[in-house]
């Protein structure tokens, strides 16, 4: 018998992925790592969409499209974030998030 993964398996993985991302986002000081954590969170959401689409409404494609959109937007967001990080690096010679504190002013 082949081992067919069920909905709950996938939801478990996506939840684990989500909290890994959240944990990374909270604890890392390096902006690049924080960006990577955000990607993890986004991907956990993507997984959820795919899973629900496949198991709850198998005849439709809404979840897939959402996922495609999220991937596109995540790419754009990554480009912007990296641009910000590069600028921060140019002015502070560092990409430590603590240096971005002064942006509050």
């Amino acid at each position: 018998m082949t081992l067919e993964p069920g909905l709950y398996h996938i939801l478990f993985i996506s939840t684990a992925l989500f909290f890994t991302g959240v944990y990374g986002f909270f604890t890392r000081r390096n902006l690049i790592t924080m960006l990577m954590s955000i990607e993890l969170i986004l991907n956990s959401v993507n997984l959820n969409f795919i899973a629900f689409n496949k198991y709850v409404w198998p005849g439709q494609l809404d979840g897939l499209f959402f996922t495609v959109f999220i991937i596109a937007i995540a790419a754009a967001e990554a480009a912007v974030a990296i641009a910000i990080i590069i600028n921060l690096y140019r002015s502070h010679q560092s990409i430590d998030v603590d240096n971005a504190e002064e942006l509050k002013y």
């Binding site: 959240v22 909270f26 998030v97 509050k104």
Partner: protein, 644 residues
């Protein structure tokens, strides 16, 4: 028919002068401002004289009655149907008479000031203010609407304020200008309430309609005005009395007269124009303008006017005897003479009998403008010569200032009521009017006329005779042609104005009034006047110690009069001690602690709260993320477990 453009130009030319000199005078017309202002006013005067001629001799009289005409009326602000503020021109005997008086005296003052104010730093500003004043005063007398008159009323108040405070580096002048403004403003509050009451009762602001509605006993408006009452006095009487308070403030009637003597801080020509001949008689003019309304009130407001006028006349005359500042003597004299005009209106009856008092009052206004302006301008020439206002610094000036001496003498004779000078005729008519109506006021007036003669000749002898003049240092003349010309012109006016058959032209209903002249009646006032003159001559002709002895023998009375009967002190006591302590300070406390306290409380609370929560904004992205996550978790719990 009257030409509206010609009449409108009379006030507008001085306004043009004000704008021109006010905007460009200081830069471009520094020395020629006087000429520019005078030229504009000369045109105005010619137009006014032309208008007066046309009105009195060409079109004004229809079927033997002088008509009230409104050649121009522009609705400026309409509140509701029939109630609107109009800008109009009203032509009737008293307004035309006032046009002539105002333009003529103003012209004299303009000419005189060219010499008197020469070399002043703010020469063109002075002329700008004079233009503003003349414009406002002419607007006031031409007003066809009670609210229009109020607007111009305030404008003359402002110009008076500006001109009293002309020497603004002198603290006393600043204080005097403030005092004048506040006292008259206070009285104007009464005027405003009076306007509101009268216009509410009559449903209009237009003079002609208002008078017509409020004086015909059949009209609904009149019935309403009489029915409404407050404290047992009808709304009509309240309205009239409150309007009179405004007039009393402007005309320096007791007890609102305290600003007038202080107003002498302004330049002397200004005192001649504003505080002797024109603005201060605005109150008399106002009462005359609304005379039919005053006459119909019960209880009679005219009675109050008569008594206020009589009391002002005698109090001011007594105070004038003791003052040593030449301008203050003249100021009290002005107040006394305006008192005459007021009680002349007060004793006039409207309706059955011919209102002799009304004509007499206007006649006295006319002659008084001539001789009082002359007295002030003469006093100005004297002050210019000796550089002092104090009578003690003067004396023996007759040889040094012959023209001033001669014209001053004419003015003194005129005000003392010596025939055949102008004051004699008008004063006789006033006394006759009082005699016919109220004996008590008649006797007060008679005594006042004796005192008037005394203090005027006290002034005259002290300035021009008494001790010999000690010429100090450089010699200079009387002040040149520009200063002497107005004196001569006004001197002719003061000598001859009495021969105008005034009753022919000005009367309350427009019908000619035969002039009353009884030889027997005149004997007593003239005798009293001459007695006053002789007494003054005995005391002041030569330097001696009789005045001092007399003063000390009168003791308390002299001291009280010298201190102006302590009226200023009473005012200070009432305002500083009573009003400030009982009203001012509690109000200030309430404002400082309750009102400000509430505002401060809101401010402080906001500040404290923001101080507490501002640490949340740390700038640390991850901290924000934790708040965000916390919020999401709370919402998730809320939606999943609590809100099902």
């Amino acid at each position: 028919m009257p030409n509206a453009t010609t009449i409108a130009l009379i006030p507008l030319l001085p306004l043009a002068g004000f704008l021109l000199l006010g905007l460009f005078g200081r830069k471009y017309l520094k020395t020629s401002s006087g000429i520019v202002g005078t030229a504009l006013l000369l045109t105005s005067t010619i137009l006014a004289l032309y208008t007066a001629y046309e009105y009195f001799f060409v079109y004004g009289k229809v079927n033997g009655i002088y008509q009230q005409l409104t050649p121009l009326k522009i609705t400026w602000l309409e509140f509701s149907k029939g109630v609107s503020i109009d800008m109009g021109l009203m032509i009737d005997p008293i307004s035309v008479m006032m046009l002539v008086v105002v333009t003529l005296v103003s012209l004299m003052v303009h000419i005189y000031s060219i010499g008197y104010m020469k070399g002043e730093e703010r020469f063109s500003t002075y002329y700008a203010f004079l233009g503003l004043f003349t414009f406002s005063m002419l607007g006031l007398v031409l007003s066809s609407n009670i609210f229009q008159i109020y607007i111009f009323w305030e404008l003359v108040g402002v110009s008076s304020f500006l001109l009293i405070g002309y020497y603004y580096s002198k603290p006393s002048a600043v204080a005097a200008s403030k005092k004048a403004f506040i006292v008259t403003r206070f009285a104007d509050l009464g005027f405003l309430i009076g306007i509101l009451i009268l216009s509410y009762c009559s449903g209009t602001l237009d003079f002609a309609t208002l008078i017509q509605r409020l004086t015909s006993p059949e009209s609904n408006e009149f019935k309403t005005a009489v029915t409404y009452s407050f404290l047992g006095i009808s709304a009509l009487s309240w309205g009239a009395a409150l309007v009179f308070i405004g007039g009393a403030g402007k005309s320096a009637m007791f007890p609102l007269h305290i600003w007038l003597p202080d107003a002498m801080e302004g330049p002397t020509p200004v005192s001649a124009l504003i505080h002797a001949a024109t603005m201060v008689v605005a109150g008399v003019y106002l009462v005359a303008r609304l005379f039919p309304v005053f006459a119909i009130t019960t209880p009679a407001v005219l009675e109050i006017i008569g008594w206020v006028g009589a009391i002002s006349a005698i109090i001011a005359a007594v105070i004038a005897c003791t003052q040593t500042d030449i301008k203050r003597v003249l100021a009290y004299s002005t107040m006394s003479q305006i008192g005459y005009m007021m009680f002349a209106l007060g004793v006039a009856k409207y309706g059955a009998e011919p209102a002799l008092g009304y004509t007499a009052s206007m006649f006295h206004l006319f002659t008084h403008a001539m001789f009082k302006a002359l007295l002030f301008l003469g006093a100005g020439a004297v002050i210019h010569y000796v550089h002092s206002n104090e009578m003690n610094d003067m004396g023996g000036l007759r040889k040094y200032m012959p023209i001033t001496h001669f014209t001053f003498l004419i003015a003194c004779l005129a005000i003392a009521g010596v025939p055949p000078f102008a004051g004699f005729f008008s004063k006789e008519e006033i006394l006759l009017a009082a005699y016919q109506d109220n004996m008590a006021i008649y006797w007060i007036a008679l005594i006042t006329s004796g005192i008037t003669a005394f203090y005027m000749f006290r002034l005259y002898f002290t300035i021009f005779w008494n001790k010999p003049h000690h010429a100090h240092g450089e010699k200079h003349g009387e002040g040149g042609f520009v200063m002497m010309l107005p004196l001569v012109i006004l001197g002719i006016g003061a000598a001859a104005a009495g021969f105008i058959p005034f009753g022919e032209y000005v009367s309350v209903d427009g019908r000619p009034l035969a002039s009353h002249f009884h030889l027997q009646f005149s004997i007593l006032p003239v005798a009293l006047g001459l007695a006053g003159i002789l007494l003054a001559m005995w005391l002041y002709f030569k330097q001696n110690d009789k005045p001092a002895k007399l003063a000390s023998s009168l003791g308390g009375l002299y001291k009280a009069a010298y201190h102006k009967f302590y009226i200023d002190e009473i005012y200070l006591f009432v305002t500083k001690k009573i009003l400030f302590n009982l009203v001012g300070r509690p109000a200030a406390w309430f404002d400082r602690n309750i009102v400000d306290g509430f505002i401060n409380l809101t401010g402080n609370t906001t500040q404290a709260v923001s101080e507490g929560i501002k640490k949340i904004q740390s700038g640390k992205v991850q901290q924000y993320a934790i708040y965000f996550l916390g919020g999401v978790i709370v919402l998730a719990v809320l939606f999943i477990y609590i809100i099902k």
